[in-house]
Subunit: 196 residues, 4 copies
């Protein structure tokens, strides 16, 4: 059965680690154009919400979820179990070091960089197969700037970027209140120029 | 082969009719949770961009695209041809009248109402199967208010809503400029309470 | 000495009551075009942040701050004292009842309605002098819809409206993070058509 | 008589040069905390809308409007005439060169940099008096990043920044449509740490 994008946030087991919200996950996953047998690397996987959805979209593929916080690793494993995802491996450690030994991949998500964005992008570029997609989600101005600069300088990538500001509309008694989520910038890059 | 959400806007044949933008289409389609054999009705189909993507997601299903502007009907048919979509029927006319005679459906998109939102929602509710999804995209305050009020009053629907404000980040020479798309409100309703 | 718009949020004494944020206060106050001797009514004054700034802009005028929560009244009085504002009177009670007995005024702010927006707007319209300004800030879809509908139906008012979505850019270590404030809708109405 | 912030956009004489929109002008002017006798420099003045409002706020002061496009200089002069602003001098040229010879100032607005943001900020910092305010409006990711980096590295400045996304609500027949303005980032810097 097909997996539908956009599991509700409340269905994930969550700790204190920030989680990518449902609407942003939908946009990032759509831009990743995941095929059923894709190999996927998720750098800075957090609670694993993006990894879990990616794994469900690639039942014959494999997801490697890199996360440096022990709490994150626990959450990724708890969520893998909850969603019965067999094709996900959580890797405790920091990129780029934790990337070594991984196979060539079709999709890379970069959601956290710990100050090493250049090296992480460089390593991910080497891992990424021709026609692969690199999806960077930036919550800081620095990551947004640096990711654009780096990726737009690589002539073998097509780069598309946008900022998404979502406000949830919550019913409270007989009123609907607007509640803003923090704006997220998505930089979607396609290797080989065959994107879209 | 799987259809990926989010055909680029530039790939559609466009006229003077406003088109739902790629990022919004992705969100609306994700919320619609389209299965391969779903029957789908698109009210106010415009250029047909949402209908085309829905039809690609439901290759064993069927899409009925209702549009009252003759230019829209032409664009829907031109786009159906361009994307080689065999399972889409364009219906010239206005809802709710143009809905009569359509089969029960799994998904309804409402993108335009011509001032008859109440009647359209009433008719679509009757067409929609149990566990069906009704996705309303609102660009006016009036449609947003009315859709929330109506759908939240129906106890057999779960209603989720949010506003999406997307700003494209466009590279111009060595700068990246922010260009806002108009904010869109998405009201995603699931019949029967089994949504999500 | 001239009062500058936009006291920092952190300078106000705050309780659990939501406070209009600095950027929104600036926009609402600018649209109110307050003269030094204006009479001003603030309906749903909350912590009094808007009232205080209005009072500082109208040192020869007067501000009446209506608030139904006792905690709000306490905060308004504490903030009046902190900012040494002598020309502000806090009125415990709910509009429209609490409006009775007030003098004709130049500016009305409506930030809260307790479900009685129609009656409040009607009473405020009667209080408002020719060329007066009524500034409604709406955090719910219902208030936005209703305020637009009512005010646009009054031919003796010019109505201007916009939604403001502010994201603070906060420096955390060597990064700048985007933190969204909830979107606010401002409906700025001018009586007599001499607005702007 | 006091000048009120926020002249309507439609009142300015406009050409093909992009104009800072009314809501953004209000926010930038409020953050500048202009006193009646302030000396103000506006770098990249465009149509002069910000300069004109600054000049009206400082009737005993002076505004220097630097603009490199001849069309801009014409518009600044035409708007000065229309708004009867005697205390504004338009300077044809590019910063930082065009800044030489200007007196010490209380407020600097930087709205355009022509790729020389570092040098412009350096020169403006030298012109700016203690307790002066430097307000940078950024429409590109590069300017936002660079302005934050530079200004946050200067220990004698307090820096406050936010992104403002305004959507106008326009009445069209019996509907109110949301029309987005492009998001603008405002970086408000106060010399000497006495900001706020």
């Amino acid at each position: 059965m097909r997996h539908f994008l956009g599991i509700q946030d409340s269905e994930f087991i969550r700790g204190k680690i920030p989680m990518t919200k449902s609407e942003i996950r939908i946009l990032a996953l759509a831009k990743a154009r995941i095929a059923e047998d894709d190999i996927i690397v998720d750098v800075g996987a957090g609670t694993g919400s993006l990894s879990i959805e990616a794994a469900l979209l690639a039942p014959y593929g494999k997801v490697y979820s890199i996360e440096r916080e022990p709490e994150g690793i626990d959450l990724i494993q708890a969520n893998s179990k909850k969603f019965a995802v067999p094709n996900l491996t959580a890797i405790a450690g920091s990129a780029p070091e934790a990337l070594s030994g991984l196979p060539s991949c079709d999709v890379v998500f970069i959601g956290g960089s710990g100050g090493k964005l250049d090296q992480i992008i460089h390593s991910c570029d080497q891992l990424l197969k021709p026609n692969g997609r690199m999806i960077i989600t930036a919550v800081t101005i620095e990551t947004l700037f640096q990711a654009l600069k780096l990726m737009q300088s690589k002539s073998h990538y097509e780069v598309e970027a946008f900022s998404a500001q979502i406000a949830r509309i919550n019913q409270i008694a007989s009123y609907n209140m607007l509640q803003a989520l923090n704006p997220i910038n998505i930089i979607a890059c396609s290797k080989g120029g065959q994107y879209a």
